[in-house]
Symmetry: C2
Subunit: 251 residues, 2 copies
């Protein structure tokens, strides 16, 4: 029951290339194109799917990124013998959505929204002056009721339409979606990976039995429409014993 790519809300995907990719995935899943088999040549396949060749190639490129297809120049395009689709940290999704993509039920405990002044280290990350007003959100995220990551987020208040825009932020809300609705969609993040030993507070929040190291992600998030500012800085402490952290690396 490989539900990996049915999780995507591809019901009516954005672009024709994406929809074509979805159709190809279905054809592979249904065995029309069997594992190891060669696909029809690109012009032929494009004709049969009713799209142009560039559009078909966009779809095929997407499936190659998912390790479902392999292209060999001068030979053909082949279905992977061991089809599997994977993704990881290289895709920027909200923490809750990421937990759902792993097939687990996301939850939140200990949500707290505060207005604070930027201390020196946070100010440097956000490119603001020390003392500038920030909104700070902290919470612990659970997967199937088990705590897996503790999150702290800082947002410059002047990037919000009103400083109080996030005061009503709720435990079930997605911060990504909320920020997008406020005209501050996030497009990219640069995450620094640091293994650290948990302190007493973190051990308590994550309900850690041992003092095994956890993985800290220090992330600077950039908005989609400007790059002169950092929209959000966050520190996420992951209990790698309870959730798998992966990165798909492409050459």
């Amino acid at each position: 029951m490989d539900t990996n790519w049915s999780v995507r809300l591809d019901t009516e995907a954005r672009t024709l290339g994406d929809r074509t990719a979805t159709r190809l995935r279905e054809l592979i899943r249904d065995g029309v194109f069997a594992p190891g088999a060669r696909l029809p040549a690109e012009p032929e396949l494009a004709r049969r799917l009713g799209v142009s060749r560039p559009t078909l190639r966009a779809a095929v490129t997407e499936l190659i990124a998912d390790l479902l297809l392999v292209r060999r120049r001068g030979v053909g395009t082949f279905v992977s013998a061991v089809p599997r689709s994977t993704h990881g940290l290289e895709r920027l999704v909200g923490t809750g959505h990421g937990i759902a993509l792993l097939g687990r039920r996301p939850g939140t405990t200990g949500l707290r929204v505060r207005h604070v002044g930027a201390d020196a280290s946070i100010a440097a990350q956000l490119h603001v002056a020390p003392g500038d007003p920030l909104v700070r959100i902290s919470r612990t995220r659970t997967a199937d009721e088990v705590p897996v990551v503790h999150c702290a987020e800082w947002i410059p208040a002047d990037l919000l339409p009103e400083p109080t825009a996030l005061d009503a932020f709720g435990a079930a809300d997605s911060l990504h979606d909320r920020l997008a609705a406020l005209g501050l969609p996030l497009r990219q993040a640069v995450a620094r990976l640091v293994p650290v030993l948990p302190d007493a507070d973190l051990r308590d929040r994550l309900d850690l039995a041992s003092d095994a190291p956890v993985l800290l992600l220090e992330q600077r998030h950039f908005p989609a429409t400007r790059t002169d500012r950092v929209a959000l800085f966050s520190r996420h402490w992951y209990d790698s014993g309870r959730i798998d952290l992966q990165v798909v690396r492409r050459g």
Copy 2:
């Protein structure tokens, strides 16, 4: 002296889109397009650069991925106010090359090439039977003479043209390049991130003073031309105090 993208061997890049991206980078670097300024409209810019609009768009998309440009539909394309180019683990490059991309001089100590039989855990990762012949390479990589990561790699011998093909592997060699020359180019890898405490052996190899945790990357590498097999499994232990580990996440 932002040498970040002059390190790329773009001297004569592969595709016209890549070469156009390089030209755009130079125009931005030289101030022809100042930070914050709007670029000419795409048809106009394409004409002036002597390429078609799809080719120009490919170049622009590349610079957007590098955070150098921002597109706003119905408005225009703008130069980032704080141009900076970054990359991280999401790009699959050899460890030595990755160190060079950070502006540091890569080196190797303690290189060892052995022929071993697969133990249970490695066999599972490589999709081979326990006891199957593997080539195992281990070495410690340095940056500016300082050890930063200890690497262990396992390769199924039957994927090589001859089992002895890697026996002459040298300290200055790139494993990626060597494998590509042997007809086994690597295209993707799935890395699992695990913070761990160093044992005595690792502390010795990395010359660690404290027992601060290190970051273990467990990686399965997939060849470009087939997906039924795992070409290489590796464990890399990074001293995050001596080298910055990043991931660029895209939405």
